[in-house]
Symmetry: C2
Subunit: 445 residues, 2 copies
C-alpha cells in the first residue's frame, strides 16, 4: 500500500503534508499554509493540504482543526496518503527516528532542527540520498534569511574562504544593550529575560551552544566537509564585561558573538599537509566599519568571503515563528516541486572532507588590556612575554595615571594556544597588576 | 545525430559547455572552470569541459586555447557533443536567437544577459519550459550576490511586499563621492570615468537603463508577474545636484539611486480592483540608519520586505569579471546537476499576472526645498498648494535669512502625479523664488 510514495502523483490531487510539532513555528507554518494556499498551489502546480499534525498534548492546541491532531507521529509519517513531512519538533529524538522513517517511506523532509542537523547531518544526508528524497533545512540557521541554499547552490562554482555570522539573536541583543547602556552582562541578561528576548534558562544561547550548532551546519555546507557541533570551539558571552565593551569602543570596535568558519592553509609544522577547516564561536571585537558591526538587536547576519565572488552579506530576522515559517515554506515549495518532477534537489556534499583544525592551532588575534606599574622597563618586559611565545604585536597604547599605567595591546595573528599562553604568562608577572580585558579581534586589517 | 542532448549521459564522460562570448566575464568563467575543475567535478558528479568558445574576432583572444575558438556561434550551440550553453555576449541579438536554438536542441542555458531577460524573459522562460530545459541567470542582477535564487526559491513560501535595491555600482560610486566630497554630478562622473568606474559612454548607468532592466527582472521574480524594462519608470542621476545631497544630509538622509519594486494595494478610484505592481528607478533620499544607506562605492545591495520573513538584505559586489563569473558558475553547477538528474530545476512563474501601475498613480513621498520671501502668509500659501493637490505634509522646517527664507518640506505618501503637480504649482507661485531641491524620500517612518 505504499505505492503513492514512489509512483507519480496523479494530476489533480493535493500534495499532503504531515506536520510534526505545533509550537511557535508549527503554528506559523499552519497559518501560512492556509493564508497563502492559492499562491502555494500556483507556485507548486498542485494544492497543498495538511494530512495531520503530530503533537504530544492534543488538548494544548485548541486553535487547530482537532481532527488533524494525533499523538502517533510515526503512524502519521507512515501513512500512505502523506507525501511530504515537515519536522518542527526540535531536539534529537524522536525527530531523528521520524525523519529516517519518512525517508524510508520515500518522503522528502523539511526540518528546522539545528541541533539534529549539527549532530547527525552526515548520516541524515546519506539516508536521504539512499532513498532518493530531499532533506531541506533552511530554517535551521538564521531563521528567515535565505542562506543555506545560496551557500550550497549559488556559490557552488566558487571557493569559500570564510563564513562569519551573527547567528544568535539573544546574545546579540544582550551585547547591543551592553554597548548602548554601559551595563554589565548580568544586568543586560536580566533585561533581555524580562522582555522575552532570553529564555528562563538562557544557557543554550548565552553559552554559545545554539551558535555552535549553526556554525557546524554552515561549515559543512561552505567547505563540503562533515563538521559536527562537537568539532566547534565554543565560548559564550557570560564573561564579557562592561570593561571589554568599553575597551572595544576605544579602539573603534564593537563586541559581537561570532560564529566563524574558515578554510585555513597549512602552517608551521604541518606545512606539507593540505587545507583544513577551523570552526569556532566566541565573542570578538570587530571594527564598527565592518558590515556585521551595525547588525543590532535580535537581527542575524552572515558575512561570506569567497575567492571569486568577494565579500557578501546576508541580513535578516534570525528567529521568531513567522520568519522561521517563511523559510520552512520556501523549502516546502522546493521539495514539493522536486517531488512532482520526480527528482531530488541539489544536496549537500562532503567530498572535500577537510580535517578540522583544533582551536589551539587556529590563527587568531587578541586585544589585551593590562594594568601595570608605571616604571621603566615594564613595557619591555611585557613585550618580551609576547615575543617569547612567538606572538608579534600590532599596536600598543600606553596611558599613565599616577604610579600606574594602562597598556592596550593588539597582536598580529598567531596560533590561539600561543596567545592564551602569553596571557597566562602576563597574569603571573609581578609588574602586571591586572589583566583587565582579553578578547579576540576579527576583521581588523 | 542529436541523441546525446536528450538521452541520459553515460557515467564517465565530461559534461561539455559551449561558451558564447569571451570578454571580461567570459574570460573569468574560463579561468574559474580551469582553476576549480576538481571541485566542480566533485560538486556536479562529472567533469566539466569547454567544448568551444564563440567570439567575433578570434585574433583578439591570444590567451585562450586557440583550437576552442570559433566564429560560428550557432554551429557551436548545435554541436551534438555540447550539453550546456553559457551566454555572456550580452545585448539582444544574436544572444536571443542562440539561446532559443540551444533550448530547441535540448540544452540548458546559463546567461548573464540582463537586457535580454528584462526585454523578453517571458518568451524565453516559455521556450525553456517547452523543451524541458533550464534558463538560469543569477549573474544578470547584482553580480555575485545570490539573489534571484533566494527570491524564486527560498522565499517561494512567502508573500513579498517590496524589493528595493542599489543595483548599479557606477551610479552608487558617483553618489557616494558626491556625499563625501560635496562635488556636483559632473565632477563626480569625471572622477568615476578617470578611475574606470564609469564607461566612456555612461548613459546606460547614469540614466538608469541598467538599473531599470534589473528592476524588471527582480519584479518579475518577486511578484510572479511578467514585467519588462519598458514597464519600469526610469529617472537617472544626472539631475541630482550638490544641493540635493546637502539637503539630504540635513535631514539625516543620503541620496541613492534605487530600483523599487512594490506590490501596491488598490487605492482611491480603483478600490474594487486587486493588487498591482509598481516598478521604478529613481534617485531618492533614504535615512542614514537604513541598511541600504551604508552601501558605498561600487557595492550592490538589495533590501527585501516579505510578509512572514520580515526584512532581509543581500549585499555584495555587483559587477566585475570574477564576481559575475562566480554567479555564472553557481548556475552552471545547478543546471549540470539538473541535466544529470534528468529534470529541469525550479523555474520562474508568472501566474499572478498583476497589473503594472503607472508611475503617476504610484504612492511616493517628496522632499522639497524652497527659497521663499520671508513675509507673513507665505507658509500658508505654500501649504495651501500642497493641500489643493491632496498632498499632506509630514514635516516643515523654516529658516529665515534676511528678507528670504528656506522652507524644507517632507510630504506624506501621495500619488506621484499629485506630488509633481504640486511642484509645478509651487514653481509658478510669485512668493516662491526658487525650488532648490526636489527628491523622493524612501524608508522614512
Amino acid at each position: 500500500m505504499n505505492e503513492l510514495a514512489s509512483s507519480p502523483i496523479s494530476d489533480t490531487r493535493s500534495l499532503k503534508v504531515a506536520l510534526l510539532g505545533c509550537g511557535t513555528v508549527g503554528s506559523a507554518v499552519l497559518r501560512l499554509l492556509s493564508e497563502q494556499a492559492d499562491d502555494l498551489a500556483a507556485r507548486i502546480g498542485r494544492p497543498v493540504e495538511v494530512a495531520g499534525i503530530a503533537v504530544r498534548r492534543p488538548d494544548h492546541h485548541p486553535d487547530v482543526p482537532q481532527h488533524l491532531l494525533t499523538t502517533d507521529a510515526s503512524g502519521l509519517v507512515a501513512r500512505d496518503d502523506v507525501d511530504l513531512v515537515v519536522e518542527v519538533i526540535g531536539g534529537i529524538e524522536p525527530a531523528r527516528t521520524l525523519i529516517l522513517a519518512a525517508f524510508e517511506a520515500g518522503k522528502s523532509v523539511v526540518s528546522a532542527n539545528k541541533a539534529l542537523l549539527a549532530d547527525d547531518g552526515v548520516a541524515l544526508h546519506a539516508a536521504a540520498a539512499k532513498f532518493g528524497v530531499d532533506l531541506y533545512y533552511e530554517a535551521a540557521v538564521a531563521g528567515a534569511i535565505p542562506l543555506l541554499r545560496p551557500l550550497r547552490e549559488s556559490l557552488a562554482g566558487d571557493q569559500l574562504r570564510r563564513v562569519v555570522g551573527i547567528v544568535n539573536g539573544t546574545t546579540n541583543y544582550i551585547l547591543s544593550r551592553m554597548a548602548e547602556t554601559g551595563a554589565g552582562f548580568a544586568e543586560a541578561l536580566a533585561e533581555a529575560t524580562d522582555l522575552g528576548y532570553a529564555e528562563a534558562d538562557p544557557t543554550a544561547d548565552v553559552d554559545g551552544f545554539d551558535a555552535a550548532a549553526k556554525a557546524a551546519i554552515l561549515a559543512s555546507l561552505a567547505f563540503h566537509t562533515p563538521v559536527t557541533a562537537s568539532d566547534v570551539h565554543r565560548e559564550g558571552i557570560s564573561s564579557v564585561s562592561a570593561t571589554d565593551v568599553a575597551r572595544a569602543a576605544e579602539i573603534g570596535c564593537t563586541v559581537k558573538l561570532l560564529a566563524i568558519c574558515e578554510r585555513v592553509g597549512p602552517t608551521g609544522d604541518d606545512a606539507g599537509s593540505g587545507d583544513s577547516v577551523a570552526v569556532r564561536v566566541h565573542p570578538a571585537m570587530i571594527p564598527t566599519t565592518h558590515p556585521l558591526a551595525s547588525v543590532g538587536g535580535a537581527f542575524n547576519a552572515v558575512f561570506v568571503e569567497a575567492e571569486a565572488a568577494g565579500q557578501l552579506m546576508f541580513y535578516g530576522q534570525g528567529a521568531g515563528g513567522q520568519p522561521t515559517a517563511s523559510a520552512v515554506l520556501g523549502d516546502l515549495v522546493a521539495v514539493a516541486r522536486n517531488r512532482l518532477a520526480g527528482a531530488a534537489g541539489q544536496s549537500s556534499t562532503g567530498y572535500a572532507n577537510l580535517a578540522v583544525r583544533p582551536m589551539a592551532e587556529t590563527p587568531t588575534r587578541y586585544h589585551v588590556s593590562l594594568d601595570v606599574a608605571d616604571k621603566p622597563g615594564v613595557l619591555a618586559t611585557v613585550a618580551h612575554a609576547f615575543a617569547e611565545h612567538g606572538v608579534s604585536i600590532s599596536t600598543v597604547r600606553q596611558n599613565g595615571h599616577g604610579d600606574a599605567a594602562t597598556l592596550v595591546i593588539v597582536t598580529h595573528s598567531a596560533p590561539d594556544a600561543a596567545l592564551s599562553a602569553t596571557i597566562a604568562a602576563l597574569r603571573d608577572m609581578p609588574t602586571v597588576r591586572g589583566v583587565t580585558s582579553v578578547l579576540r579581534v576579527e576583521g581588523l586589517s
